[in-house]
Amino acid sequence: MQAVLLLAALPMLAGAWLPWVLLRPNRLAPGEYLRLPPVWVAALLVLALLPLAAARWRPALTWVPATLALLLAVWLLGTRTGAALVGQAAFARASAASGAWLTLLGAGVALYGARLCTRAAGRPAWTGLLWAAGVGALLLNGTLSNWSVLVEARSEGPRWVQELAQHLRLVSTALGLAVLIGAPLAVWASGRERVAAAVLGVANAVQTIPSLALLGLLIAPLSALANAFPALRSAGVSGIGVAPALTAMTLYALLPVLRNGVVALLGVPAGAVDAARGMGMTAAQRFWRVELPLALPVWLSGVRQAAVLLVGVAAVASLIGAGGLGTYIFKGLQSAATDLILLGAVPAALLAVAVDAALRGLETLLGRRLGRAA
């Protein structure tokens, strides 16, 4: 824990000295770097070291300085970008510079270290989430609204929400399809050694194809299909767009769903299955009452892996016109506009983390209820 907190203090110490804000006359022009006023540098230096000290003497309270450090960093980012823009033209942009990023990184690591301290002290974990409430409040009350990424977000407004929704739609549809196809396939394959080997081999092979290549590979067959059957074309199938993206994403998600399904079903204790048979359960009763409940926690972790994978692949899918948050990433890359890239990349990363956390929670819950993680 000390090591983690030391690792947290170093970027914060450096970040306090480095420039915090990059002010540019418009979003593409070069600009000037602004540093923090000495008072705030001092405050940040103190907050950088406090978690270390707290972990030494009051480990259960480490979360207090760590949370404060993060909230101060976010607040400073908001107020300093606001201050920089005073008297500037409407096109001027104030972005976060290296100091702000380093401090945020350090504060994040400090929060992680604080969580370890809290757990070691056996205290309830909710204190580790207070920072999220604080950041949420700062976002809502407009403190951050002058930060360039949010300025871009505001000008994109409803379109950004649409792309986010499209991203979620792509991920959930592909995941749903993968589960619908993969679950019966896993059940079927788990009882047959050769089938299982073949199915896993194919899914493995698909996984090794880079996502961009797979998307490219799908253009030709799908456009041929659409040309041969006009009915399919009117249903939205074509070489580019949502159809190839969903096809590729479903294929990608299939492997984790299948692999974990087969492993989970084979991992059900043989004794339990034999006992179930010997007590007169039908095949269906055996599956629903014994095999599925026992396989579910492991299986779900496959679904979680698939979901996280899909959040990433969906970003690439925008290249062939499927939409999603990837649109901003590629638009930003083309015009060298960092703020636009962040507008796509940060939410996509947060989405992956959120999906992972949500499904992990579900896994733990089920595991506990089903007696696995007892």
Binding site: P269, G271, A272, A275, R277, M279, G280
Partner: protein, 328 residues
């Protein structure tokens, strides 16, 4: 009563069980004994059709088991296996209630039945009802396994090496507990075992199998004192008689004292009336093999048998041979 008629099981080209004819009497425990690979487990699994016979018939209470749906047949037969096979995601009570639930029995009656069964197998219901299988020791888990098999009160119980995976101490205790349960319930039990001691100790009858065939079927005494083949003699070993004695308390063999006068009763073949009690005494719960060892060690012909320190009878060489071939 379970009857096997010309039962046969073929796996590929080889016969695992051939022309097996056996009758398991009602209310008795029959041990299916034999070296590994002799077909005893296959035979057991053909009774509840976990393995379908290739030929022959199994009659359960006179009814051909092929006329029943396998699931219906199995719900009427208790089943205990070496791996125990408790469902790890369900608690003890839910595990025990499995078959009554499958049969659609009333929930409240089942809950009462579960408590009764946990009591029967020596587990306190209040302590164990809500535990998960993962929290139980091996012995406790198999006690739950036995309770689960008995839950729907089936007349027949099939047990496949039920105590095979336990450490010796737990196995002894569970064997004792199960013998008491069987004495009370009088189920028709078929127990597969490769453990000769277990077969001699628990079995009312023993069916010794070899290479898919029945070698001998009889009481433990029959097998020990009247083996029908060299294989039976060799399989039981030269110390079979001692092994059988080891499974029984010396109290079973003693000649009881008639009255509280402290005098030995007159007895044909062992000498005169009213001789004083032997000097060396053993408690009646001591196993008979140890009592025999005491006789050898002390170089004497008779021992006094005591209950709580009070003499209640005597025992000598001839008495320990009582189950042997030349009954005095």
């Amino acid at each position: 009563m379970i009857e096997l008629h010309h039962l046969e099981k073929r796996f590929g080209g080889s016969l695992a069980v051939q022309d097996l004819n056996l009758i398991f009497p009602d209310g008795e425990l029959t041990a299916l004994l034999g070296p590994s690979g002799c077909g005893k487990t296959t035979t057991l699994r053909m009774i509840n059709r976990l393995t379908e016979p290739s030929g022959g018939r199994v009659l359960l209470g006179g009814q051909d088991t092929r006329t029943l749906k396998p699931e219906a047949l199995r719900r009427g037969i208790g089943y205990v296996i070496q791996q125990v096979g408790l469902f790890p995601h369900l608690n003890v009570a839910q595990n025990v209630a499995t078959v009554p639930d499958l049969l659609g029995r009333d929930r409240r009656a089942t809950a009462a039945r579960v408590d009764e069964l946990l009591d029967l197998v020596g587990l306190d219901p209040d302590t164990f009802r809500h535990k998960r299988p993962g929290e139980l020791s091996g012995g406790q888990a198999q006690r739950v396994g036995v309770a689960r098999a008995l839950a729907a009160d089936p007349p027949v119980l099939l047990m496949d090496e039920p105590f095979g995976a336990l450490d010796p101490l737990a196995r002894d205790r569970l064997q004792d507990a199960f013998r008491d349960i069987q004495r009370r319930l009088r189920k028709t039990v078929v127990m597969v075992t490769h453990d000769i001691d277990e077969a001699l100790r628990l079995g009312d009858r023993v069916a010794l199998m070899n290479a898919g065939r029945l070698e001998q079927f009889g009481t433990p005494d029959d097998l020990i004192y009247r083996p029908v083949s060299d294989f039976v003699r060799q399989f039981l070993g030269e110390d079979a008689a001692l092994r059988q004695l080891a499974g029984q308390p010396v109290g079973r063999f003693m000649v009881a004292l008639h009255g509280p006068d402290g005098l030995q009763p007159g007895r044909a073949g062992t000498g005169g009336a009213a001789s004083p009690l032997p000097a060396v005494a053993v408690e009646e719960t001591l196993n008979a093999r140890s009592a025999l060892s005491v006789l050898l060690r002390e170089g004497t012909d008779r021992l006094t048998v005591t209950r709580g320190g009070q003499p209640v009878g005597t025992v000598g060489w001839h008495d320990l041979r009582a189950s042997g071939p030349e009954r005095p």
